[in-house]
Amino acid sequence: MSRVEFMQGNAACAEGALAAGCRFFGGYPITPSTEIAEAMARRLPKAGGVFISMEDELASIAAVIGAAWTGVRAMTATSGPGFSLMMENIGYAAMTETPCVIVNVQRGGPSTGQPTRAAQGDMLQCRFGSHGDYSIIALTPNSVQETFDLTAKAFDLADRFRVPTFLMTDEIVGHMRERVTIPDAVDITRSSPLAEGSLPFEAGDDGIPGFAPFGSGRAVHVTGLTHDERGYPDTTDPAAHDRLVRRLVAKVESARRAIADYEVTNPDAGTVFVTYGPPSRTVEQVMRDYPDDAVGHLRLRVVWPFPEFALHEFPNAETYIVPELNMGQVVREVERHVDQPVVPLGKIGGELHTPAELVRALEAHR
């Protein structure tokens, strides 16, 4: 028996995490993500889990990584300024292949910016914000239901690929209330265990090592230093670094078809909107109000790793239009992968693109 609720995106995020078996939350209050921490504070102790309010966001993500290494599903949630503080330890999570989920309810930046207004301005920071080369997975819901679904899914992806996985939502979806169906249980896929005789950071063809959480009796040494398959620091050998970092990137990037999650509407269209998160809803509104086979829509639920092959599902595409709530971030990926003209349609200030704005853009660029 599933239940139907009318709830906020942030509340649905907490529900999705709980349904996925998340039993550790470390966080710090920050608008507009705080409702996630509040919901976890209410719910986790009753579910046999741990909620802890840390002293800052550096500590929040650190505690989450520590908890994740004990084998528990762990999450934190924040917004722009806190996300910036987390960056060093996000790199640590990538380097140590720690499965964990980081929610960013995006608000207007830079700096303190607009705490109560929506943005998608952290999409490149999410992908590239920590130093060095690495890859991550980022999901982008556009509704309350999808916030529930994708939060739960984020835990599976984090476990399967042993990579920090991001739910890149925003103030609009985080704070809006909609009907949501919460199933009694969701399917859960955990990490493959570390095989007997395998080294803790030794991977097979998929580039993903088996996971031996603390207490498994494998005496795993986890370090953010460049390390060999044993997990031992090896910081001066160029080949060791090359082998490790290329694997960290490849295990995600080479699986982008498996990770990809997107919707294609009107594949024969000449003008194609590419969206993620709430701007997709304005595009859908325009397509409903002005039905036109010449207008297509690619909506991404996974932005990172970027599924460039999805752009080519529109063989007749002449123009791509990319509305996002920033000054043009994911549009750079689109530009990189197609030969046709690409129109960035960045909007900042906190309000969603209106249908009229998209209609005007269509008229100007088709």
């Binding site: 209330r177 909609e178 209106t354």
Partner: protein
């Protein structure tokens, strides 16, 4: 048919809760679709508070309220900030004693706060009186749906008071419609 409903007043009146209750009634108990949003600043009390709901028979795509056709305004500042530009064919419910201005569109004066204070003895239920009046004057959701949504949303032990407030609102709403 898409309706956009906007509530405004000052922080502490339960403005956003009103929008949540209306959205809940539509989405959970009237078989419709609803999206509730709000705009808020740093003030927890005072200031101008605003909550809004889109209600539609079809799934709601664009989630924002652009140009409401229904308003419930419970403070002068709320009117000035969020009600003054109401379109001519909109309907606006005003708290008679808390809003001095009158809009260019059709409007109903609802003495929600006065009724809550004098008749019900608790000013805190003024927003529920307003919701009741909104439902009977506009028919935006059914009475049954709003009753269930109110009961879902109010603290235990206050159900009777809130039901009384809602019913009083129903009466006030019916009365202004029949004038």
């Amino acid at each position: 048919m898409r309706h956009e409903v906007r509530f405004s007043g000052y922080g502490g009146q339960g403005i956003i809760l009103s929008a949540v209750i209306l959205g809940r009634a539509a989405a959970l108990y009237d078989g419709k679709h609803a999206v509730q949003t709000q705009v808020y600043g740093p003030e927890a009390r005072g200031g101008a508070s605003m909550g809004q709901v889109v209600i539609d028979d079809r799934p709601i795509l664009y989630p924002e309220v652009a140009d409401p056709d229904i308003y419930a305004i419970m403070s002068q500042q709320g009117f000035e900030k969020y009600g003054v530009r109401a379109r001519p064919d909109a309907v606006m419910l005003l708290d008679t004693d808390l809003v001095r201005s009158r809009p260019g569109c059709r409007y109903y004066e609802i003495p929600a706060t006065a009724e809550a204070k004098t008749v019900l003895g608790r000013e805190i239920v003024a927003n529920i009186v307003m919701i009741g009046a909104l439902v009977t004057s506009t028919g935006i959701v059914s009475r049954e749906a709003i009753e269930r949504a109110v009961l879902d949303s109010v603290p235990k032990g206050t159900e009777n008071l809130n039901m009384k407030a809602l019913k009083r609102g129903f009466e006030l709403g019916e009365r202004v419609c029949n004038l």
